[in-house]
C-alpha cells in the first residue's frame, strides 16, 4: 500500500474534558496535541485563556469529535472517578515541522 501523495496532512488532536457528556457543557480540561516533532502538552503555572468554553465551540471552529465519552461505562452514583468527560477531537490539516 503506497502512502498518499498528500503526506503532509497530519492529525491534530484536542482532548477536551467537559463537565457532562453533553457537548454544550463547559470544559474543565483543555489539552491540544500537535503532530509536530518535539511538541509536548504540558501543565503550566500561568493558565492560558482557552479558546473554547464548550466542546460545541470547538465543533463550530471545525474540530470533529472522534471519540465520545462512553455513556455505558459502569456507573455508581456514589463513586467519583476522573475529572470531566473526555471528548477527543481531530483536525486533519497540512502541517509542517518547525
Amino acid at each position: 500500500m503506497s502512502s498518499t501523495p498528500n503526506s503532509s496532512v497530519r492529525q491534530r488532536l484536542l482532548y477536551l474534558h467537559a463537565r457532562t457528556p453533553s457537548v454544550f457543557s463547559e470544559i474543565l480540561g483543555y489539552t491540544p496535541v500537535e503532530p509536530v516533532r518535539d511538541y509536548r502538552a504540558e501543565i503550566t503555572a500561568d493558565v492560558p485563556d482557552w479558546p473554547y468554553q464548550t466542546v460545541h465551540d470547538a465543533l463550530v471552529d471545525g474540530w470533529q469529535i472522534v471519540q465520545f465519552p462512553h455513556q455505558q461505562a459502569p456507573i455508581d452514583d456514589r463513586d467519583l472517578d476522573v475529572v470531566g468527560y473526555e471528548f477527543i477531537l481531530q483536525k486533519l490539516e497540512e502541517v509542517q515541522d518547525g
Binding site: 482532548y15 463537565r19 501543565i43 467519583l80
Partner: protein, 292 residues
C-alpha cells in the same frame, strides 16, 4: 545513609511498605488552641484537599535551608532531614504541628519517608500523578507536607495541584491525557510556605524556565487512629446556620455543601458533597453513628 545521585525531579514515588515506616510518633500535643485550625479551615481542607501555612520561622532559617540545598551534590533521599537538620524546625513549628493535629489527630505520625524535590533549571513539566497507588477513602488519613524555602515564581516550576480531586478513584494512568485543568492552583508561594495536601490530590509540576534550582522538600504524615472527638478548634454550634441556596457561602456548613473549586458537574458535585459530610462526621468522631 542512602546516597543517591543528583536527580532532577525524579518520579515522585513513595514506597509504602508495611513495617518499614521508621516514623516518630508524636506525643499528645498540648492543646494550644491558637495553632489549631478553625472549622472554616477544616471545611476548606475537606473541600479543596490542601491548606497553606506560612509559619513565622526564625529569621534566616529559609535562607540557611535553601543555601544548604543549593550546595548539595547528591540527593540523600529519606535522610534529607539529617543532612539539613534545620528542616525539623519547620516540622516542629507550632503552626505546622497545630495543623497536623487538627487534620490527623493528636498522635499523628511523621512518616520516615521524605524527599528533596530539586527541580533543575530548564527542565520540563511533570504530568499529573499521585505518589503511589490510589488511596481513596473518605477519611483524612495521610497527608503530604510540601515545604518551599524560597519564593516560588510561576517560571520556577511550581508544584501545581487540582483542588477537590482527592476523593476520586483516578489512579495516575487515568490522568495521563490531561494537561491544564480549570481551577488548578500553582504553588506560587512565599519563602517558608508549608503546604499540606491530601495524599490523593492530583498534582504535577510546571516546567522550570529559569536558571535557578527550585527546592521543595516533601514530608509524609499519617493518622494513627480515628478521632473520638474533634482535634481542631471546633465550635459545636458551627452548623447551626441556614442553608445558603444561592447566598453567601463562607461558613463551614455552606462551604462543605456548595464548594466547587474546579466547577464540576451536578452529579459529581452531589457525590463530593456526600463524601465530604462523611469525612466531616468521621473527623467529629461521630462515625460509629453512621452506617457506611
Amino acid at each position: 545513609m542512602d546516597r543517591n545521585p543528583p536527580a532532577a525531579e525524579t518520579a515522585a514515588e513513595t514506597l509504602v511498605e508495611p513495617g518499614a515506616v521508621n516514623g516518630e510518633v508524636q506525643p499528645g500535643a498540648s492543646r494550644d488552641m491558637s495553632h489549631l485550625l478553625t472549622d472554616l479551615e477544616m471545611a476548606g481542607f475537606i473541600v479543596n484537599g490542601y491548606h497553606l501555612l506560612e509559619p513565622d520561622l526564625p529569621e534566616g532559617l529559609n535562607e540557611r535551608i535553601a543555601g544548604r540545598l543549593d550546595g548539595l551534590g547528591y540527593n540523600p533521599g529519606d535522610a534529607i532531614a539529617e543532612v539539613v537538620p534545620e528542616l525539623w524546625q519547620v516540622i516542629e513549628h507550632p503552626a505546622v504541628k497545630g495543623a497536623l493535629v487538627s487534620l490527623l489527630g493528636e498522635d499523628f505520625e511523621v512518616m520516615g519517608h521524605r524527599h528533596w524535590h530539586c527541580k533543575q533549571p530548564h527542565t520540563g513539566h511533570m504530568s499529573w500523578h499521585q505518589d503511589s497507588t490510589n488511596n481513596r477513602d473518605y477519611r483524612i488519613d495521610r497527608l503530604l507536607g510540601l515545604f518551599y524555602p524560597t519564593d516560588i515564581t510561576p517560571e520556577m516550576g511550581p508544584t501545581v495541584i487540582v483542588p477537590g480531586t482527592q476523593f476520586r478513584n483516578a489512579p495516575t494512568d487515568r490522568m495521563a491525557t490531561y494537561s491544564n485543568i480549570h481551577g488548578q492552583v500553582p504553588m506560587v508561594v512565599k519563602a517558608g510556605t508549608f503546604a499540606l495536601t491530601h495524599y490523593d490530590l492530583w498534582h504535577g509540576t510546571a516546567a522550570n524556565r529559569t536558571a535557578v534550582k527550585r527546592h521543595m522538600i516533601k514530608f509524609l504524615f499519617r493518622r494513627v487512629r480515628d478521632n473520638k472527638a474533634p482535634t481542631w478548634n471546633h465550635d459545636p454550634d458551627v452548623m447551626d446556620v441556614p442553608t445558603a441556596w444561592g447566598g453567601k457561602r463562607d461558613d463551614p456548613k455552606n462551604v462543605l455543601s456548595f464548594g466547587n473549586p474546579i466547577g464540576v458537574g451536578q452529579s459529581d458535585h452531589y457525590k463530593e458533597r456526600q463524601i465530604r459530610w462523611k469525612c466531616w462526621n468521621n473527623l467529629l468522631g461521630a462515625d460509629d453513628a453512621l452506617d457506611d
